[in-house]
Amino acid sequence: MVQCLAPDGSVVREDLLPDPETRLELYRQMRRARHFDERGWVLYRQGRLGVFPPFGGMEASQVGTAAALTKNDWLFPTYRDTGAALTLGLPIARTLAYWRTSPHGWHMPADLKVLPFYIPIATQYPQAVGAALAERRQGTRNVAMAFIGDGGSSEGDFHEALNFAGALNAPCVFILQNNGWAISVPTRAQTRATDLSRRADGYGIPGVRVDGNDALATYHVTREAVDRARGGGGPTLIETVTYRVKPHTVADDPSRYRSEADTAGWDAKDPVTRLRTHLLNAGLMTEASEADLLAEITAEFEAALAEADSYPEPTPAEILDHVFAEPTPQLKKQRAEILAEHAAHDQAQDSKEQA
């Protein structure tokens, strides 16, 4: 397993250290992601966010990988990869809107190739192969990165995608976040082949196992994979070994299927604390500069929250928008039905209120 920082923050591989600016940027992005995750819980409890899958504790796995991309590259995130999407530049307001089930959360910025979070497991993998292949066919050096979990790596689409990417030499970087749990099913019950990086062997592509709680290590191995893909060297599977310290979603109760003993020890491996210790020890950050950073992150989030609050709720007929470029006669008729029904409903409400 590739590692650059030990859990206590000490450097175990000097040769893997990225430059100081990169280390600081990785920390900034991890703190942004963690802030979102922590505020997400509070907002959910306040009824200001829908059911949302937390990812706290997996920041190195998401930030270190996504940070290896540029804005010309594709990102196919799953529902737990808010941290990766934020790192590539998905606006916080849009991300909040997504988890509020507002259509504004599905409006992807024109300068980003981030897809909306994938709900059906593993379907994003073959699609990333297609996007990567299309970039190659169009003569660019852009790559596609797709995320999946240990549970998702049991799906057929995962295996088909790895095989296609190898056979077609698609510039794809497959991130497999092994966080130990597929809701309530532990990885050891998911498969006998618990070193998931070795699944790459079956498809003739490189497989890398990395400490998923070490942002410097995840960044290093992902940069290598991205550079290889850009240069025509084909796909890589990267298993980030991490842990889902949080519940599956904010509505889940993990005590039904795992004990504290299962999770014990993972707090000591926390990715944010690990990089923080390193930066302080290396003199790259002081507690004062960190306080400035946190103030900036807090302000950014609250401004985004205010923006998300300003998004209007969708109107009834909007459910029929964006099905086809040109609505079919059937959709036009159904739109008229909704408009008529809703107008009648509004009138009934009015007369009830006046009565």
Binding site: M108, T123, G130, L133, E135, F164, L168, F324, T328, P329
Partner: protein, 337 residues
């Protein structure tokens, strides 16, 4: 708007349906570098029915390529290619082999425009041979069009003639949204007609009145059109005027043409080779019941397959797949009501 069967003008060439499909694919590849054709055996071999014959040699291994044998990844990869600006044209070897890809189709293909509020759209075509009548082995004769018609955001096109196959396929490839294009295996080489040369389009969403008549409307598509025509010819001999409507497109369905015909004839027979329950014929019947029931002089009759798997038994295949005799009986039934 009704497109009546008019003889094509200008230069034509006599072609089978599979040749017309090949011609359309060739034209699309030449016209637009974004068009890519892929699937199992479509490249070197030219497809199991030769629909892509010669295209790889002409347009290169990057534009027409063989994939590993995995339908979910064929469709999923096509979705990714479409997101990234290409026009993917995937071949699924048989419609009955589409099922591994249903997750990609039902979860993503039709939803992409919707879930990105049109930031992305998928100009993808999925071609698949479908239907029976040629004694294919088990699993090779399915008619799964209702599954796709029931999937929001995808169009479903099923041609019945070489000229329509060419014109509709070129429309499908140039459509900004995903289109399923089902090709009746029975018709690939059994029919020849004059097909316009060059880039020729038939609009998606317009039915074709195959024969005009005042007494009974027979609604059908794909492989059932020739069956309906034979039954109609026999009925004409008996003095019954049969209007055969080839839907051409299930989604969007040209209800105007159907309703106008029912308003004239007052009788409806619907013919498909799909299983009876919840087939697309049921949708057609529902539309007629909703919009034209006051014109009906007899109950709507569906002539379809049965609620059993398509039989791979040559001796009795014809029992399942509607033949002209069964359609003629249905015509008689609505006339005698």
């Amino acid at each position: 708007m009704t497109a009546t069967a008019t003889p094509p003008t200008g230069t034509t060439k006599t072609m089978t349906m599979v040749a017309a499909i090949n011609d359309a694919l060739d034209i699309a590849l030449a016209a637009d570098d974004a068009v890519h054709i892929f699937g199992e055996d479509v490249g070197v071999m030219g497809g199991v029915f030769r629909a892509t014959d010669g295209l790889q040699a002409k347009h290169g291994q990057e534009r027409v390529f063989d994939t590993p044998l995995a339908e979910a990844a064929i469709v999923g990869m096509g979705i990714g290619m479409g997101l990234a600006g290409l026009k993917p044209v995937a071949e699924i070897q048989f419609a009955g082999f589409l099922y591994p890809a249903l997750d990609q189709i039902l979860s993503h293909l039709g939803r992409y425009r919707h879930r990105t509020r049109s930031r992305y759209h998928l100009p993808m075509v999925i071609r698949a041979p479908y239907g029976g009548g040629v004694h294919t082995p088990e699993q090779h004769a399915d008619s799964p069009e209702a599954i796709l018609a029931h999937t929001p955001g995808v169009k479903v096109v099923i041609p019945s003639t070489p000229a329509d196959a060419k014109g509709l396929l070129l429309s499908a490839i140039n459509d900004p949204d995903p289109v399923f294009f089902f090709e009746a295996i029975k018709l690939y080489r059994s029919v020849k007609e004059d097909v316009p040369v060059g880039d020729y389009r038939v609009p998606i969403g317009k039915a074709r009145v195959v024969t005009e008549g005042d007494d009974v409307t027979v609604i059908c598509y794909g492989g059932m059109v020739e069956v309906a025509q034979k039954a109609a010819a026999a009925a004409t001999q008996a003095g019954i005027g049969v209007e055969v409507i080839d839907l051409r497109t299930l989604v969007p369905m040209d209800t105007d043409t159907v309703i106008a015909s029912i308003a004239k004839t007052g009788r409806a027979v619907i013919v498909t080779e799909a299983p009876r329950t919840a087939g697309f014929h049921s949708e057609i019947a529902a539309v007629i019941a909703e919009e034209a029931i006051e014109h009906l002089r007899a109950p709507i009759v569906r002539v379809t397959g049965f609620d059993a798997p398509y039989p791979p038994f040559t001796a009795v295949e014809d029992v399942y797949r509607p033949n002209p005799l069964r359609v003629a009986k249905a015509i008689r039934q609505v006339m005698d009501y």
